[in-house]
Amino acid sequence: MPAALTLRALTAQQDQLAPGHGLCAGCSESIIVRQVLAALGRPAVVALATGCLEVATTRYPWTAWQVPTVHNAFENAATTISGVEAAYRALARRGKVSGEPPVFVVFAGDGATYDIGLQWLSGALERGHRFLYVCLNNEGYMNTGAQRSSATIQGTWTTTTPVGTVVPGKPQWRKDVTAIVAAHHIPYVAQAAPHHWKDLMAKVQKAAAKQGPAFINVLAPCNRGWRFEPEETIRLSRLAADTCVWPLFEVDEGAWKLSYRPAQKRPIVDWLKAQGRFSHLLDPQRQDLALEVQSRVDQEWQQLLSRCGSG
């Protein structure tokens, strides 16, 4: 049975990710992982891509994981879980494993998902393995010190798109991996963010009930890479949804549905001014760039509304 999504029921559960790991103060990843594992209500077997979560939680001879966990390499977490899931089916058929089948879960960053591992993810989705892939999207390669990824938006300062005299941060927009995954026509695809825990956890429960692959792209605010104070993590998460730079929605059996529509859509400048990585965009001389970001966000939001039939 999936866990009841009440704070009383959830706080009674034992955390599947133990404290004492090495993630930064203010990191959203441990929050998201605990939300995901608490929502399942069934044992999980986890595959990790190389990244912040993996290095901070599996420092030999310690581990923060209370569930079976495997790390293979950077790009191949989806394929690793394919193998685990295939093994489960084979061993179950031969009576070598028994009991309630576990949920096979991947945690991977946007580097592992959008960039280096996109092919591995695509292959696993097409083959139809039963697993839940959670992208912890902090919009850059934060484990290696805040470099650009294809999830980083235009104008962002990163260490490989520095704000120079000639180039003002990342020149390109981001790619829409959630839509790319949805184009695989798998049973369940969603975007979520940790401030809306009930929405995120309900999505995890829907995903885990599916007979095939499921994908949830979760915005993972990173105070070190984005340059904000550690206590602001959840506020940043909410701001992303309210400015529509990170809309919350789901694609359930092919049906697009908006999960959250801000009562009043906030201007992107609220998002930009909350983070040091965008501070150069507040310069009046770079107003054009800020306006361009606003226009891309608006365009994507309108497209999403029309996909969800609520345009």
């Binding site: 394929t79 295939a86 093994a87 084979a90 061993l91 092919q119 292959g123």
Partner: protein
Amino acid sequence: MTTTIARRGTKRPPVPGTPVAMNGAALVAHAMRQVRPDVVAAYPITPQTVITETFSEFVANGRVHTEFVPVESEHAAMSACIGAACAGARVQTATSGPGLALMWEVLGIASGLRLPIVMHLCTRALSAPIDILCDHSDAMAMRETGWVMLVGENVQEAYDNAIMAVKIAEDPRVSLPVANLLDGFVVTHCMERAELLPDDAVTEFVGEYSPTHPLLDLQHPVTVGALDFHDYYMEHRRQQEEGMANAKQAVEHAAREFASLFGRSYGLLDTYQLEDAEVAMVVIGSAAGTLRMVVDGLRREGVRAGLLRVRCLRPFPSQEVANALKGVQRIGVLDRSLALGAAGEPLWSDVVAALATHGAGHPVTGWVYGVGGRNTPPGQFRQAFLALLDPATQPGRAGYLGLRERR
């Protein structure tokens, strides 16, 4: 003397096989079916494709109950094998040349995590220039990734090795992946007479796999693939080397058990006319057949020629190689790949190091042959033998057999 060829007139083994006419790839696919892997993840590539196709047919027709994971690349093939092996499954794959190169990162992970995966490697030249034919560049580039490497000579041996590989890999003192090398096209595609063993005898020979810390033991959760640094990495590497050292015994143990049941005996090495040889060649793979014929010819002319075929490339049986070559005055090594910029080619380097370490520092001359699938006729091997007899021939790189030199 051990040879890999079942000798006629020897007594009938306890478990006789059925004679078949089959190519190496198809027969290896039968071995895969008979060892009953839980999971096979593979991606087709010439000349390995026949293995993946044949095995897919076995799955499609219910002749084996394996989860076949038709991955999108060789890197994914090995990645899925790693996941499945961590889960506690018996796992196999197969590849060739560029496919192996694409896997390289995860080859080391399979070994570092001590996963008893078996991979059939149909040897193929590496790009560029692109070439689908046989040489050993792919195999030589994986020597340091921590895989036990068995090298067969013919269809029968590729099949027998495929079966023994499972036992070696899953031996708890070893717990390492094993590569079963068979020469691309020469062995994979050439039809030979061979013996197919009974299914149940093979299944019984390899036994059930009992993993020690499977991921799917939900009551005892483990973290696999944790982060090591300076404080533990070196010890873990050392343990891996211990597993590799133990593999030598495991190869011999599996071979003895195999011989007692099925009648064909194998060792770490395969020697031919080596006891009284004054001149000998060292080789791996399918070229040994031609070389035996050349040795016979030289013997008829009064030249005491011999042959040493290395069957176990990793762990390299240094002591055994040195012992086998102890009495040989002039030694040649035939390499089917280049080690660009190195002191000598890969097999040559291993042989020289073995002789230097174990007190028989005879001069060793090396030739490159058959690269990119070039045919090496017996006359060229004969020329190399004759050159070894020439006192003017120096140790080290002697050059290429069958190369068209620029004028």
